[in-house]
């Protein structure tokens, strides 16, 4: 991994028919890095990937790859691989021909095609399936073909747009590990698009959180998970209880407020608690239990309070609080993530 930017997006503005979807995006990615683009549906992840791949002409800004400005380079000359959410396999071609497609475009000699396709197919564990048509494969197998087809041409950069979202939960876990292994083996630079924070945390060297066409925060998974930079990121990575801090009070969106349990640093704009960080059964506040859900190791409580619903989690071994009962709880600033202004 060198430190210089390999892929560099500078002031990238994208849109459809003049309506902006992504605004002045700046992002640098190092060679060999696996970056996850994380954000809710519609925030502009796919749009960004398509622009990098060359399928969408930017309205403004620059895209640099390996030191060369590729903003105006046509998609078929960029040598950037893209794995589509829908896989986009060629329905009339066998697995072999799907994977060989890019090599044939490069006029690779026949025996080399044979060898490299065999390698790629073996790498994704599909040896023996070369003659099948896409429709004769399961979703997971199609996904692997799409992956083999994208990497066999040795792209300089591999983009994956929610590649696992059409698979069931177990397969998703399995493919996630597989992808990580492949990335290490090939040393390929990857941008991985997902709306699933867990997937991003598990896979990425670095996470870029997007919201409404802008970058909200970027950093290593630990930083995103533990010290969210904005209330939006906090909510997105599982801080269920996020409150504004003002005049020594916790404020809810509805204007209601609670006095702070303990003083906080003056630069704190928001405090955010994960459910397990909420103290239950003791503390200065009170609320009514609206409902509980048993999660196995723990029990999750939804508590109605003056500042709106609070989500709390307690070990399953502790005594339960029944729905309808009033329960005391605490929101200690020490267990919260403090989000500066």
């Amino acid at each position: 991994m060198s430190d210089a930017a390999f892929l560099d997006l500078a002031g990238l503005s994208l849109g459809y028919d003049g309506r902006p979807a992504v605004e002045a995006l700046d992002l640098s990615i190092k060679e060999g890095e696996l970056v996850a683009l994380l954000g809710p549906s519609g925030c502009g992840k796919t749009t960004t990937m398509r622009a990098v791949a060359g399928l969408l002409q930017p309205m403004g800004g620059r895209i640099t790859l390996g030191g060369r400005d590729i903003t105006r380079v046509p998609a078929n000359r960029r040598n950037i691989g893209l794995v589509f959410q829908s896989y986009a396999l060629f329905p009339h071609l066998s697995v072999f021909e799907n994977v060989a497609f890019g090599l044939r475009r490069q006029r690779t000699p026949k025996d080399e095609i044979e060898r490299r396709v065999a390698e790629a197919v073996a790498m994704v564990g599909l040896t023996g399936f070369e003659k099948r048509l896409p429709k004769e494969l399961s979703g997971g197998q199609q996904q692997r073909v799409a992956l083999a087809r994208a990497v066999v041409v040795r792209p300089r950069l591999l983009l994956l747009d929610e590649p696992l979202s059409n698979l069931d939960a177990r397969l998703r876990l399995e493919m996630r590990t597989e992808l990580r292994r492949l990335q290490r083996e090939l040393g390929i630079t990857m941008v991985y698009v997902t709306h699933d924070q867990e997937e991003a945390l598990a896979l990425a060297d670095r996470i870029v959180v997007m919201r409404d066409g802008k970058i909200e925060q970027m950093g290593p998974p630990e930083a995103i998970y533990e010290t969210p930079a904005t209330d939006f990121v906090a909510r997105f990575v599982g801080f269920e209880n996020v409150f504004q801090v003002k005049d020594g009070q916790l404020r809810a969106g509805n204007g209601a407020a609670l006095p702070l349990q303990a003083p906080v640093d003056g630069g704190t704009a928001w405090l955010a608690w994960r459910p397990h960080a909420v103290e239950l059964g003791q503390g200065p506040y009170e609320g009514q239990v609206l409902g509980t859900s048993y999660l196995g190791q723990s029990v999750e409580y939804l508590i109605e309070s003056t500042v709106g619903p609070i989500k709390a989690e307690a070990p399953a071994a502790l005594p339960r609080h029944e729905a309808g009962r009033t329960v005391a709880f605490g929101l200690p600033p020490a267990t919260a993530a403090a989000i500066p202004r």
């Binding site: 028919d17 791949a53 691989g81 829908s86 986009a88 396999l89 890019g102």
Partner: protein, 258 residues
């Protein structure tokens, strides 16, 4: 309605739709000199006789050539249109599609007359080119509609995948789109061929002495001659259409596109 009664009704409807063909086949097998049913003796002489008639032979060749040529040109014009409709935001979308489908709305006889008066006569255009233009114009909407139907099932991201793997736009079309709409194109070809081959009103004013399509030649002939040769020829044409339809249905599922 009971299912027995439904079956009976259906049998009557099919008798009405298909029965007449059985009668022409029988009438064509007459050994006599004039058209009659039941036929006067059985023979295949009229089936051979139609091949001897020079005007039938010439018009048959013209009709086939015209049907093939006009259908091919209609596809060359229509496939890009179907593709553009499926993939691009079209300028003036609604008006454009009205314009492109107008030939099916306008009664065909008007097309023939209009071409005769304002193209063939002023430009001194030959009859065959005029027929070719008229038939092609008539077939473009069919080509667009049938090919559009098969493009509708094809995702556009496979072309993007091809481009990202190094293909240019043209290669992407020929390597990934065309093979997947091949059946639609073949179906369009067959429908176009049959439509052109059977077409009468558009050709009415565009035929002349010595140059005539087969159906028009048949209309002429039956006006002046009352022998079983038209019955024999009709039977042959019906059999030809049936063969085409059966083969096409078997391999393409033609009825999906009608």
């Amino acid at each position: 309605m009971s299912s027995r009664m439904g079956g009976l009704m259906l049998a009557l409807v099919f008798l009405f739709l298909i029965g007449p063909f059985l009668i022409i086949i029988a009438a064509g097998m007459s050994a006599g000199e004039t058209l009659a049913f039941p036929p006067q003796g059985l023979s295949l002489r009229w089936f051979w006789a139609v091949f001897e008639v020079e005007s039938f032979r010439a018009s048959f060749v013209l009709s086939i050539g015209l049907a093939v040529g006009a259908t091919l040109l209609a596809l060359v014009l229509g496939v890009p249109v179907a593709y553009a409709l499926a993939r691009y935001p079209l300028p003036g979308g609604e008006a454009m599609s009205t314009l492109l489908t107008s030939p099916v709305i306008v009664p065909a006889i008007i097309v023939g007359l209009a071409l005769l008066r304002y193209v063939v006569i002023p430009l001194d255009l030959g009859i065959i080119p005029a027929l070719f233009v008229a038939h092609t114009a008539l077939l473009v909407p069919y080509a667009v509609r049938v090919v559009s139907a098969s493009l509708a099932n094809l995702r556009s991201d496979i072309e993007e995948a091809a481009v990202l793997l190094g293909a240019n736009r043209l290669q992407a079309f020929f390597l990934t789109v065309l093979p997947n709409i091949r059946n639609g194109i073949l179906a369009a070809f067959i429908l176009g061929f049959v439509t052109s081959f059977n077409q009468v009103p558009v050709s009415l004013f565009l035929t002349g002495p010595g140059v005539s399509t087969l159906p028009i030649q048949m209309l002429w002939y039956m006006e002046f001659t009352y022998d079983p040769s038209i019955a024999a020829l009709s039977a042959l044409l019906a059999l030809m259409s049936m063969a085409i339809v059966l083969v096409a249905e078997r391999f393409l599922g033609l009825s999906r596109y009608v």
